[in-house]
Amino acid sequence: MNKEPDYIKDISEIRNIMERSSRFMSLSGLSGVMAGIYALVGAYLAYKLFYFSDEILYRTISRGVVSDKVLHVVLLALGVLVLAIGTGIWFSYSKAKKHNYRMWDATAKRMIINLAIPLTTGGIFVLIMFSKGLIGLIAPCTLIFYGLALINASKYTYTDIRYLGFCEIVLGLLSSYFIGYGLLFWAIGFGLLHIIYGTVMYFKYEK
């Protein structure tokens, strides 16, 4: 009976392994905050450098030319995306290293695949809309598909990410009604929400 303290350790070990083997726990809240900051900076730059009204866009599209401005905004958005993903990977890597786990394991793969399915679908859909000139619906669609992707991935990482997903979907639907404010909704959805979510996660799990 002198082995009793060991049993408590056994239980905590069981919990730890169950969690670690089924969910990707290296996601860092700080990377969410950083992604949000990039998005806000990106939205600000887009607004300052090449702000356009949807009206101008529709006219250019009806003439069959996509204005340079639209392409610049697309490039800027891609830049923000790459930077955000890069930061996310880097923070996850250092968090995994701190806990002596491997970052890239079966749980990471599972989470990425489940995140990628709605995200790729949405990406292709948005490209098709772009080619058909439905520019006004691009921002709402990115938000909606991103929200669905997060909800899908939430089964394989922190469940809290589900709530972020719901918020993105609601925001996407709102923005599909208020067409023309795409940039503003983008700034809220990818900027503000990420910062709030990241801060909450940081204080909940990493502090």
Binding site: E4, Y7, D10, I11, E13, I14, M18, R20, S21, R102
Partner: protein, 102 residues
């Protein structure tokens, strides 16, 4: 003597075996390498514990090929799941009792 102590399973009185059972409880399948990384043990150590659990018929395995590499996937059996649940229940009881006696 306290009844629940009978439910403590000798087959699980080892960190590695507990780890294997925990991981297989929450995953449909895990291959050898995934278990090895998760539990941070050597090939030989893991293999011997897997064999022991297999002999008890608490886990099952399937061999297949990924390209040319052999790949062994393990899964938990019905008997393994209920035995493990019983074991955890007994652990809980034990801890509760210990708290009360303090």
């Amino acid at each position: 003597m306290k009844q629940y102590l009978n439910h403590l399973n000798k087959a699980f009185e080892n960190r590695v075996r507990l780890g294997i059972m925990s991981a297989l409880t929450v995953n449909d399948y895990l291959d050898f390498n995934a278990l090895k990384e998760l539990l941070n043990v050597t090939d030989g150590n893991l293999a011997s514990h897997l064999k022991a659990l297999e002999k008890e018929e608490y886990i099952g395995m399937e061999k297949s090929f990924v390209g040319r590499k052999p790949n062994t996937k393990y899964h938990i059996t019905k008997a393994g799941r209920s035995a493990f649940e019983e074991h955890i229940g007994a652990l809980e009881q034990l801890i509760k009792e210990q708290h009360q006696s303090k």
